[in-house]
Amino acid sequence: MDITLRVNGTTRTGSPEARKTLADFLRDDLNLTGTHVGCEHGVCGACTVVLDGRPVRSCLILAVQAAGSEVTTIEGLAPDGVLGTLQQAMWDSHSFQCGFCTPGFVMQATTFLRAHPDADEQQIRAALSGNICRCTGYQSIIDGVLLAAERARLG
């Protein structure tokens, strides 16, 4: 099926099979391999992207369903190679180890902080509870998001 959508501000087209997920379409057809695929059934959060302003699991959406939508992936957060506030804060906090879960956490935390700039630690933990990390034990990730929230508040 022929589809047209916007990805990271650019119009993209493709002809995925109906069974191709948005995650695989981004990775295989558009070469945007920053979006990771872990469990492929909705439970790990690694494939989280932003679809029309909301975080979604791209492994549970068919690519054909994203026709006409606006998608933001991890590649869209630092288009010129300059890290955003959240990414820099996570870097400074040594938030991640192997990096497999990273794109999912960053996309989820980005949309959450945008909607809830004053979130406290408990709210941040709840917001990230759907993302699984097998390396860190989570504390460093939470620290990074808290640091980003603080830096954003200070301007």
């Binding site: 099926m1 069974r19 679809l51 909301r54 699991r57 068919l62 369903q65 959450f112 933990r125 759907g130």
Partner: protein, 290 residues
């Protein structure tokens, strides 16, 4: 795993969707939010020949309040209902349950109709629908049927919807003044399905309980009402002793399932605790809303 091959239809109207259902019958699966169906496809637990994607049918989304009922379109997304003032004002029990479903990235796509058509016995919304005696409106080529919640849930992931019927809306009665609600849930991790969940709605009038509704999730292959506890509560004044007795009666005659999340005995104990907590919270909430 990658999804198996399937045909794909994306009707734009309810009547087109109903025509497609009549054509494919049980060869087809309706695709709403995909939060339950797509994992089932990935795990090869469902192998429909065709998906009928109803995401493009505008008339199936939205909330309207008329004649003592909140009418919620089947395709209304869980996040949209969660953010709806109409839902918060008229069906506070639904509003209390919605944030407990999975995670934000699940609720941004999952739908009210999808959760209720899927009928997972551990899910929150089936317990809410059963507690409030919601009505299910299904449409087939021969017209509409209205099915009461007591007849909707037939078994594990099974409803009384026929293969040629589409769930189009769910109607919840609006809460009367003096009604307090609570949704209690015990799960291992935030966002998991409930090991035990309990939907409670308690109406107070002149300090006495005029209407008590309790429905468990996770206690059987369908959501179940705790009718013995409800009968005990009706007409009484809220007290700790009364709620203790209600907890005993609610869990006395049931035989909950055992699985790796908890034994049957454990579920009964947790069930009793959720009844005590839920009644206390709903009574406090009723006082606030009076």
């Amino acid at each position: 795993m990658k999804l198996p091959p399937f045909g794909y239809e994306a009707p734009k109207t309810t009547s087109e969707a109903v025509e497609l259902l009549a054509e494919y019958l049980d060869q087809a699966s309706v695709l709403a939010g995909g939060k339950s169906l797509v994992p089932l496809l990935a795990l090869r637990l469902a192998r429909p020949a065709v998906l009928i994607d109803i995401n493009g049918i505008r008339e199936l989304s939205g909330v309207s309040v008329t004649d003592g009922q909140a009418v919620i379109g089947a395709m209304t997304r869980e996040y949209a209902a969660e953010e709806s003032h109409a839902v918060a004002d008229t069906v506070p029990l639904l509003a209390a349950a919605l944030p407990l479903i999975g995670h934000e990235a699940i609720r941004s796509r999952g739908t009210i109709g999808g959760s209720l058509a899927h009928a997972d016995p551990a899910a929150e919304l089936p317990a809410v629908a059963r507690a409030l005696d919601a009505e299910f409106v299904v449409r087939g080529q021969s017209g509409e049927r209205v099915i009461p919640a007591a007849e909707w849930f037939e078994g594990y992931l099974t409803t009384s919807r026929r293969p040629d019927e589409l769930l189009v809306q769910v109607r919840f009665p609006t809460a009367q003044p003096g009604t307090g609600v609570s949704f209690q849930e015990v799960a291992r991790r935030q966002g998991d399905f409930a090991i035990v969940g309990l939907a409670v709605s308690l109406s107070l009038s002149d300090g006495a309980i005029s209407d008590a509704r309790l429905a468990f999730a996770g206690m059987s292959d369908v959501p179940v009402r705790a009718t013995e506890a409800e009968d005990l509560l009706a007409g009484e004044r809220p007290s700790a002793e009364l709620f203790d007795e209600a907890a005993r009666r609610a869990t006395e005659g049931i035989d909950p399932p055992a699985d790796l999340h908890g034994s049957s005995e454990y579920r009964k104990k947790v069930g009793a605790a959720t009844v005590r907590r839920g009644l206390r919270a709903a009574a406090d909430n009723a006082q606030e809303r009076q």
